[in-house]
């Protein structure tokens, strides 16, 4: 069966990269109540998740 980890990994890696870049390039983009750079931190976590998925699917083949 086709491995779902590949597309999940790709999607989250793209999202992670996008958010991290956005958080770095535009750190002044903040929500009214957020005390952190939400995009940077969430993006970073997404990136880890996406890359882990990709790594797991590569290892399986």
């Amino acid at each position: 069966m086709w491995d779902l980890r590949t597309p999940s990994g790709i999607l989250f890696t793209i999202y992670g990269a996008l958010l991290t870049a956005f958080g770095l390039l535009s750190p002044e983009t903040r929500a009214p109540l957020a005390e952190y750079n939400v995009n940077l931190w969430s993006g970073f976590l997404f990136l880890i998740f996406g890359v882990t998925m990709l790594w797991m699917s590569r290892r399986a083949t």
Binding site: M1, W2, L4, P7, S8, L11, F12, I14, Y15, L18, L19, F22, G23, T29, R30, A31, P32, L33, A34, E35, Y36, V38, N39, W41, S42, G43, L45, F46, F49
Partner: protein, 556 residues
Amino acid sequence: MTLHFVDYLILALYFAFVIGIGYLLKRKISTSADFLTSNRSVPLWITSLAFVATNLGAQELVGMCASGAKYGIMTSHFYWVGAIPAMLFVGLFMMPFYYGSKARSVPEYLKLRYDEKTRAFNALTFAVMTIFSSGISMYALGLLFQLVLGWSFTASVLLSAAIVLAYTFFGGLTSAIYNEVLQFFLIVCGFAPLAFFAVHRAGGWAGIVERVQHPQFGDAWVHSWKYAANPSANPMGVEVFGIIMGLGFVLSFGYWCTNYLVVQRAMAADTMAAARLTPIVGAFPKMLLPFIVIVPGIAALALTNDPSIAYHLPPKGSSYDYDQAITTLMAQFYPSGMLGIGLTALMASFMSGMAGNVTAFNTVWTYDIYQSYIRKDAPDSHYLWVGRATTVVGTLLSIGAAYLATLYNNIMDLLQLVFGFVNAPLFATFLLGMFWKRTTGHGAFTGLLAGTGAAALTHGLTLAEGKGAWIAQLHEFPSVMAQNFWIAIFAWTTCFAVTILVSLATRPRPVAELKGLVYGVTEIPRPEENVPWYLRPAPLSIAAGVACVLLNVIFW
């Protein structure tokens, strides 16, 4: 709430992905079984997450967050009393019969176990219910996007329906299941940060406890059982018996054990062992979901109660518009970028709910109604074609149901009402069918009719929050939720009693015909020797059960 380019980009990327997955899976579809039942070939971790995700629709996310703000942590009963025990039960005790009987759907199991009329009754009511569920889900989303983003109700309903249609039309059940797992990841990743930020801002759990004191109910928002002895002592208006019997036993077991929408995900597993483990493994992520879907709602109330924090639940009449809790939190805590992820997750939850209903409707319509009563002996390619066509029809009917749903305002209550009418008596039928070989087809059918009638009658004779009592008013419940729990209890008990009585008065089926369908005349598969003990159904269920009890105790 305003969206920027990056938010639209994130949303568009997601749409491209789900349609892409559907399109890639199209090559694997060559028979009606591939399209409608995934031909029993999906790996365990995927079926487990899909089992949880298909229930994680928009009404679940929005409704659970709303209930969190409205009723507090008592809402967790839907998970820690309701879903988890029922999921463990279906995996341990019922899946051997569903998977082992070779039935392709839940109604087909009823046909094998009982008779044609019981199957027809279940197939028809189920078909109607899936359409309504997906319509309600669609309505919830359309309304929300209209309110929050100013998108037109019709446009957001049609756009999302078109995308769901596209990927289920191409890839059928496999595509729906694969996308559900992707949606599950997105929902967790999109909402877990929101829960974290909202709780953190409210001063952690301790800060929430301090801020959600209520003049009438005290600290009822942060205790799941402490105020459950008396219905007038808690905001939900329910009591222990209603919670355990109505919600925990009848409604939840009825939903998780007999609703083909979720059972279908487990039946798509590649082996019997995997089918049994599907709901049991799914129980672990399921029991953690309240932290993502309910806790932010409680945090929203805490933030509202603190005048020093610039967050307020939007007012509605003398109370709050709780259904907006999740989106207003997003607007306050997510900047452009992460906001796109949050909205995509909402959209994803809506789609997973809708795709689940559409694919279940497809299979039941094609196999249990069309192939059984309309055209019996057509070549398989014909049924594949019918399955595809049904996807289109089912989607169109759901859109119609979405416009109907605008007549009701509280989504969860309406859903519970529908489940009370359909699923509650059904659980008695399955319980007796699977565990008592004396149960007959006439008994099951009469019981189902009587149970559904009892549900309607109870709704017609009791009043709650101005709803029901369309026959006469005999009793008033403190809340619609209490009314729903009791409707379920009456429906189940009536079905259970009538089924037994009529079964005893009618001729039983020969035991030889019941092989593989009933407990006692079926060989329950034992886990293979090479499976380590911690991956077997019983130890995993015990672990899940213990964890679930602990959660109840922690939030007592």
